[in-house]
Amino acid sequence: MQVTQWSEALSSWLMGLGLPGWAAIFLVYAVGSFILINYGMLSVLLLIWITRKAISRIQDRIGPNRVGKYGLLQTVADAAKLLSKEDITPYEADKIAYNLSPVLAVFGVLMLLAVIPFAPGLTGVDLNIAALYVVALGSIGIMAALMAGWGSNNKYALLAGFRVVAQLLSYEIPLVLAILTVVLLTGSMRFGNIVEMQSLHLGGFNLGLGWLGIVMPGALIVFFVSSLAEAELTPFDLLEAESELIAGFHIEYSGMKFAMFFLAQFLNAWILAAVAVTLFLGGWQGPGVGLPVIGPLLGLGYFMIKVYGIYVLQQWIRGTFPRIRIDQMMYFAWKVLVPLMIGLIVAQAIIQKLPTPVAVQYVLIFIANVGVMAVVAFVLQKYFREEQMRTKRSFEPSSLIGSMQVSEKGTMY
């Protein structure tokens, strides 16, 4: 049973009750978006709980365990506390920008939920330009950060706002290029098509393991790293480093408005994980999704397992990696990720024009990915060794990018 069939059945039932056609369709869409938005909002309660539990375990603590079973209701209690806090507006703040910014931040993130394919047929809109839509809506979040920084009438908030814009704009480029590799391979920007492409049929049975991340691990890694930066997660959380900047651009916000920024940030991390899963890890594909009745349910299960898996991975990185400096952040985006991605795209475009069967092209793309990553890792290693020798600061831990490149060689991430 697909959602489109449900919505058609619902709208035809409403029309049977005597509603005009447009009203029935409007009502069905309203109900759909109500469910989707509330799912997004409520899932944040779970996301924050996962984050706190995961980081506590990494830091050898227990984490929240008092409110509810396993502390599951801790976030609800926190939300109630935030709701009851005083709403402070700074002196001479720009009222419009200050009050609009948290709303825009949440809006920009919630709009992304519309195109995420949760299961076969379970997607808000299967937009034919979904990949571009995801990129375009990122700019709303940037605008919100800028408005918050400027509207707070606080120079630290303003400076942090500039830093946010610098980081988000820089990492948008490798992110877009990584999405482009998928679009180049699948020939479609529709998330539905991209997920469909990642099936793997074996004797008429859909194994659902033709994940694009297997074909192009380089693009997957670049997408994951840039999505960490886009979601302002460690190691790219220098935007709201508590020890240095207090909270970054939302320093002046309190109560519910602060909670909205918080919500937007957690949901953004989850949605970027969902986009990564859709593009590279097969979306809802998995063994047995082609089955008639339980297929879609299995698909939803696979999708959620993958997305929450990526989310936990993000939190794992958050618990283990140190924070990088702003110059390292810019360096890594512009001199490492962007050239890497451009190299990958050029290689892939050439390979896809070769007169060979598709399977051979996939193998060649995989080889190109590994090759380009190896070259970049080699160059980086050389650079950091030279820099270490030059600055002779051997007592400092080797910079983050150096350690990241080691992990790239060892494991997937």
């Binding site: 447009w22 009203a23 409007f26 720009d94 419009i96 920008a97 609009l100 937009l127 034919n128 330009i129 571009l132 839509y133 990129v135 375009a136 809506l137 990122g138 700019s139 709303i140 940037i142 605008m143 800028l146 408005m147 400027w150 303003l158 500039f162 814009v165 704009l169 948008e172 020939g187 479609s188 920007m189 529709r190 098509n193």
Partner: protein, 176 residues
């Protein structure tokens, strides 16, 4: 719909109703851009105008254009303008007047431009519906093909222009 005084008011269809809202949003935001006394608010209103125009594109079933509009205008150009305003201190805090000593001339030219647009709009045979547009990936592919075949020179010149701007920015910002 019949109003008491015998005035006939056509009931808008749902699409017209939504279009009126989008058009009003665009127009009011555009007005706010020029009327606002605070330059930063002008920039914000300009962003809203860009969104409204994207909404109009959606009505014309040009979703690709609409999303590109948001990506380029909201994501880059509005951000650039906001930056430029925020980094010029006197503009940032001053309450500027929306009028300067050239308001007479500019309003005359704006009016003439409006007359020209009106004449143009009246001369166009409405509804200007041509052949059905394939609103799908095929359209994007065709667009890309046009860029590298028919309009390749314009495309290359644009790329060169952007490269020059990039080089210029690096020249301005480098250490001397």
């Amino acid at each position: 719909m019949q109003l008491p005084l015998g005035i006939e008011v056509p009931i808008p269809t749902f699409e017209q109703f939504v279009f009126i809202q989008v058009a009003l949003l665009t127009a009011v935001a555009g007005l706010a851009v020029v009327m606002s006394r605070n330059l930063f608010h002008s920039a914000l209103a300009l962003t809203l105008t860009f969104f409204g125009v994207a909404g109009v594109y959606v009505f014309l079933e040009a979703e690709f254009l609409a999303v590109s509009q948001v990506l380029v205008y909201v994501g880059a150009i509005a951000m650039l303008i906001a930056f430029a305003i925020m980094l010029t201190r006197s503009m940032m805090y001053g309450r500027t007047s929306p009028l300067n000593n050239q308001w007479g001339k500019s309003s005359l030219f704006a009016f003439l431009f409006f007359i020209g647009l009106l004449a143009f709009a009246r001369a166009t045979p409405w509804p200007a519906v041509g052949e059905e547009v394939v609103a799908d990936e095929a359209l994007i592919g065709a667009l890309g093909r046009e860029f590298v075949t028919t309009y390749v020179i314009a495309f290359e010149v644009l790329g060169l222009l952007l490269l020059l701007a990039l080089v210029g920015a690096v020249m301005l910002a480098r250490d001397r």
